[in-house]
Symmetry: C3
């Protein structure tokens, strides 16, 4: 646990939210801050080896009124590349939530090598202690 750590609970699996999370992680890593990530639900699903290269949808906000959203249809938001960069820039640890693995019916071995291990909420909360936490 570290006073200046940045901890992210990633819940969402849309490309734009994953990208927003990755830029925060990369920014913190570049500033020398330890980064702890917990993957839950749809964010965990996004890190499955067999889906990680898929084009992912955007958040509801982007699609709700159609034509006025210029990022739509560009086809590629580099969220995965930004997470890889964050890991190279500094100290970032990615934990797959064991409860969410159960919900999705998968094992940690089904996940990309960026994911370091699986564990419970208590493990994450103890690593996050004293720092800042965001739910994305």
């Amino acid at each position: 646990m570290s006073e200046d750590s940045l901890s992210l609970v990633l819940f969402s699996g849309t490309a734009d939210k994953l990208h927003a999370a990755a830029t925060l992680a990369a920014g913190a890593a570049a500033l020398g801050r330890p980064v702890n990530i917990l993957l839950q639900y749809w964010a965990l699903d996004a890190f499955r080896t067999d889906r990680i290269e898929d084009n992912r949808s955007l958040a509801w906000d982007a699609t709700v009124d159609g034509a006025s959203r210029p990022v739509r249809g560009t086809g590629h938001i580099p969220w995965l590349e930004t997470f890889r960069m964050a890991k190279e820039l500094g100290e970032m640890s990615i934990l797959a939530c064991s409860g969410s693995l159960d919900v999705l019916g998968i094992d940690v071995t089904a996940l990309d090598a960026l994911v370091d291990s699986s564990g419970g909420i208590a493990t994450f909360l103890m690593a996050a202690e004293g720092g800042q936490v965001l739910f994305i």
Copy 2:
């Protein structure tokens, strides 16, 4: 106010997000950390006595591309049971946001007994002071 408190602003009313929030609350309570919850908008709506037992939808992320999401259709995500467990495990206080009560046109008496009281943002922010806060 406590240095090690975990405070959650609950906005969303989908079963998966409520469940993610409840697991964080239960984990923190089990670690002996005080938990403060503020219910706004659709999370507040979820705690209405006449709706709290309803099956709730999943987040947009789950439904956006249909078939690939295995949790769909399982019918029951135990978010309410997990909140009840959190309250038994430790010190957890649930506040209904008075502004959101107005928006929804309901009174605090319409809410489940898990909700302790109603109050404003300032009340919540003062209870949350010095600890970690997440918006879910």
Copy 3:
């Protein structure tokens, strides 16, 4: 940077989430806490001069099951007025994320005068240091 600052990463552009964020910002400002806001993606889009007065949609949660959501159709959620009030109540700074400006293909001059400047994640994280941060 300030120990008691409240920092908000605004991602979502729906009226209800913007309103929830604005009430938290106004509450913190009224308590004398410095407020730092970073606008990303759809929240940034909401602050475009040519769209800021538009009626905005509600979050997925509000619309997923239709008829049971009484706030639907009221037509006006005063998120913008609440941000303006927050700025009058205390010290609030709004930063447009430079990466998101690129994604949306716009310049900071396209944004409402409530937005103070543009900058990167590092600028925001340094201003947020030591305080509480929420992602909305």
